[in-house]
C-alpha cells in the first residue's frame, strides 16, 4: 500500500500511469511475491553463472572419482584439495556443483519447453477458436490424440527417433504440453470472439491475422500467462519424473530431477543428502515461480480490481 502512495509526486497532480507502471506498482504490493521474484532472479543468476562459481565441473568425468562417492556433507575429497559442502552422490559428484549445473538444465528444460509449447499451443488454440469449422475440428481432435498419449510413450518414441539428449527432452515436453495450452486458449478465445469488440473489428473488415494477434490474443493473455507459469513448474517436475523412469536427460549431465531420482534409491539407507538438497533446490525454484505466477494472475485479472 505505502509503496504506491509514496512514489507519485503530489504536485504533478492526476498524472495517468502507463499500464506498465501500474502493473509494476501493483505487483510490488505483495511482499511475498516480490520476495519470490528476487529469489527466482537469484536462482537464474546462479544457473547462468554456474560454470564460474561452482567448485567442480560435475559434467566432466575426468574431475569425478568414484572413490569420493557418497561422502557426507562437509567431507574432503581423496586428494584433500576440496570440500564437498553438500556431500557427493554415488559417482563422487559434488552435490553443490551438481545442483548449480542441474538448475541450468532444469530451468532450460522447463522454461524452454513451456515457452515454445505456449506459443505453439496458443496459436493453434486461437486459430481453432477463431476459424471454427474444419480447422477447429482437426486441431481439437489432435489435442484429444495428444492428451491421450502417455508422456512416457511419447518420450520413448522421441528418444528412439532422435536419440537421447537435453534438446530431445525439451522436444518431448513440448510435444506433451502444447495440447494443454491449446485447450485453455481455445476455451477463452471461444468466449472472447463473441464479444462486441471482435464483432466491431470484423465489421471494420480488418484482416484476420490482425484481429487474432492484435485483438483476440491480448485478451486471452492473462489465463495464458498463469497457465505458463504453472506449466514451467510442471515441466520441471515432469522432467524429474521422466528421469526417474530412465527417459530424461543424459546420466552424466544430471538435472535436478535426475539428481533426486538418483538419490531416491539411497533414501532408505540414510544417505539423505543425495536426494534431499536437490529436492530443496527444486522446491524453492518451483515455489518461487508459482508464487510469482499466482500473484501475476491476481494482478492481471480485471475482475478482482476493487
Amino acid at each position: 500500500m505505502s509503496v504506491t502512495t509514496a512514489t507519485p509526486t503530489p504536485d504533478k497532480a492526476p498524472r495517468v500511469e502507463t499500464p506498465l507502471q501500474r502493473f509494476i506498482s501493483e505487483f510490488a504490493e505483495s511482499k511475498l511475491a516480490l520476495g519470490a521474484l528476487i529469489v527466482f532472479l537469484c536462482i537464474v543468476l546462479i544457473a547462468l553463472f554456474a560454470p564460474l562459481i561452482a567448485p567442480q565441473n560435475p559434467y566432466d568425468l575426468a574431475q569425478l572419482d568414484i572413490m569420493d562417492g557418497r561422502l557426507e556433507p562437509g567431507s574432503r575429497n581423496g586428494d584433500d584439495t576440496m570440500t564437498f559442502w553438500l556431500g557427493t552422490d554415488d559417482q563422487g559428484r559434488d552435490m553443490l556443483s551438481g545442483i548449480m549445473y542441474g538448475l541450468r538444465i532444469s530451468l532450460m528444460v522447463g522454461a524452454g519447453s513451456a515457452i515454445v509449447a505456449a506459443v505453439v499451443g496458443a496459436s493453434l488454440g486461437m486459430l481453432a477458436a477463431y476459424a471454427g469449422g474444419k480447422t477447429d475440428t482437426v486441431i481439437m481432435r489432435l489435442v484429444d490424440l495428444q492428451l491421450s498419449f502417455p508422456t512416457i510413450l511419447s518420450a520413448l518414441m522421441i528418444l528412439a527417433f532422435l536419440g537421447k539428449g537435453i534438446m530431445n527432452v525439451v522436444i518431448a515436453l513440448i510435444v506433451v504440453e502444447w495440447a494443454y495450452y491449446a485447450r485453455t486458449v481455445r476455451g477463452t478465445a471461444l468466449v472472447e470472439r463473441r464479444r462486441e469488440y471482435i464483432e466491431a473489428a470484423q465489421c471494420l473488415a480488418l484482416p484476420t491475422r490482425r484481429i487474432i494477434f492484435r485483438h483476440l490474443l491480448p485478451n486471452c493473455m492473462p489465463p495464458l500467462i498463469v497457465v505458463a507459469t504453472i506449466q514451467i513448474a510442471r515441466a520441471i517436475a515432469l522432467e524429474a519424473t521422466l528421469s526417474f523412469l530412465g527417459l530424461g536427460v543424459p546420466i552424466t549431465e544430471p538435472s535436478l530431477g535426475l539428481l533426486i531420482a538418483n538419490g531416491y534409491e539411497y533414501m532408505l539407507s540414510g544417505k539423505y543428502w543425495i536426494s534431499f538438497y536437490p529436492g530443496i533446490a527444486l522446491l524453492v525454484t518451483i515455489v518461487s515461480i508459482n508464487l510469482v505466477g499466482d500473484h501475476l494472475r491476481d494482478v492481471l485479472n480485471p475482475r478482482l480490481k476493487k
Partner: protein, 323 residues
C-alpha cells in the same frame, strides 16, 4: 444435435485410427519386441521362429491391415507377453485403477473444496496463506518422491498402513474391488493420497479463485444487502457458481488420472492399468499398448464431448456448430 453427435463419433473413430497408426509406427521405431522378450540363450533360428510366431515377420503395413481387420471384429489382438487377449488384460486391471482414481478425486474434493473456500473467503489471513503455500507444495513435489516418503513414514516408521499392494478384494460381477473391505481401504489410503495430492492443490486453487471472483459480484452484494445470512450466501449462491469450473476441471483430471497413474501404481505395487501400460511399454507389447491407448482415446473423447456439451449448456455464447 444428433448430427453434431454423429459428427463427433466419426471424428472419434478417425482419432482412434490415427492413434493406432502412430502407435504401430512408434513401437516399430522404438525397437523389436522379440529382442526384449526372447531368452538370451536363443539362437538365430529361434529368433526367426519367435518373430514369425508374433507375426512380426510381415511388412509393417500388412501387420497393420490384419490388425485393422481383426479390430473391426472386436479383436484387438493378443498380448505378446501374456498370450491373452489384450482387452481382457486391460479389463482385469481396470477396477484397481478406477477405484484408485475415484478415491483420489473424492479425496481431492473433500479436502480441496473446504480449504479453497476458506482461503478464498479470508484471502489475507494467515490460514489462507498457509493453505496456498501448501498447495504449491502439492504442485511441486515429484510424485515418486512423495510416494516413497509416505511409505517410509506411515508403513516403515509408524507401521500404521500396509506399504504396498491391494489387500483383500471382493468379487462383484467377476471383477475384484478392494474398496469394500477394511483391509482393502487401508491398502488404498496411501496411493490414493499420493495420487490426490496434485488434484487437491488444483481444487484449492480453483475454488479460491472462484470464491474471490464471485464474492465481488453484484448478486452477492445484493444478497448481502437483502440481509441473507452469510452461511446461506456462501453455501448456496457462491457455492453454485464456483462448482461449475471445479466440476469441469476435476472431470478432465479424472480422465488423466485413470489414464496415467503410472508412477503411483509402480511405487505402491498397485496392480492397475498404469502398471500394465508401463510394463507393456518396457517390453514393447504392442497389442496391449494399442488396445490400451485406443480405449483411453475413447474415454477422453467422451469426456471432452461431455465437457463441450456442458459448456454449451452453461454458456449460451458458445454454440455447438456443424456448419
Amino acid at each position: 444435435m444428433s448430427v453434431y453427435l454423429l459428427r463427433r463419433l466419426i471424428q472419434a473413430a478417425l482419432v482412434m485410427l490415427a492413434m493406432s497408426v502412430i502407435v504401430f509406427i512408434g513401437v516399430y521405431a522404438i525397437g523389436d519386441p522379440v529382442e526384449i522378450l526372447i531368452s538370451p540363450d536363443a539362437d538365430q533360428a529361434e529368433r526367426a521362429r519367435a518373430i514369425a510366431a508374433l507375426g512380426l515377420d510381415k511388412p509393417l503395413w500388412e501387420q497393420y491391415l490384419s490388425f485393422l481387420g481383426n479390430a473391426l471384429r472386436g479383436d484387438l489382438g493378443r498380448s505378446f507377453v501374456f498370450n491373452e487377449p489384450a482387452l481382457k488384460l486391460i479389463g482385469q486391471r481396470a477396477p484397481a485403477t478406477l477405484e484408485l482414481a475415484f478415491a483420489a478425486m473424492i479425496l481431492a474434493i473433500l479436502i480441496g473444496l473446504p480449504l479453497g473456500l476458506y482461503a478464498g473467503l479470508r484471502p489475507d489471513g494467515f490460514g489462507a496463506k498457509a493453505i496456498m503455500a501448501g498447495s504449491i507444495l502439492g504442485f511441486s513435489l515429484p510424485t515418486f518422491w512423495v510416494g516413497l516418503m509416505l511409505i517410509m513414514v506411515f508403513a516403515v516408521q509408524l507401521g500404521w498402513l500396509p506399504s504396498t499392494g491391494r489387500g483383500e478384494t471382493v468379487d462383484i460381477l467377476g471383477l475384484r474391488w478392494s474398496f469394500l473391505t477394511a483391509d482393502g481401504l487401508a491398502h488404498m489410503a496411501m496411493p490414493a493420497l499420493n495420487l490426490a495430492l496434485f488434484k487437491i492443490s488444483l481444487v484449492i486453487r480453483l475454488t479460491r479463485a472462484g470464491v474471490r471472483e464471485t464474492m465481488l459480484m453484484d448478486f452477492v452484494k445484493f444478497a448481502r444487502a437483502k440481509g441473507l445470512a452469510p452461511s446461506r450466501i456462501i453455501g448456496v449462491h457462491v457455492f453454485k457458481n464456483i462448482l461449475i469450473p471445479v466440476v469441469t476441471v476435476t472431470g478432465l483430471e479424472l480422465g488423466s488420472t485413470i489414464a496415467f497413474s503410472v508412477v503411483t501404481e509402480s511405487v505402491f505395487a498397485w496392480p492397475g492399468m498404469g502398471k500394465l501400460i508401463i510394463d507393456s511399454i518396457n517390453v514393447l507389447d504392442r497389442p496391449v499398448i494399442v488396445a490400451y491407448l485406443m480405449s483411453i482415446v475413447l474415454m477422453f473423447i467422451v469426456i471432452n464431448l461431455v465437457v463441450d456439451l456442458l459448456y454449451s449448456v452453461l454458456d449460451p455464447r458458445v454454440r455447438l456448430e456443424s456448419k
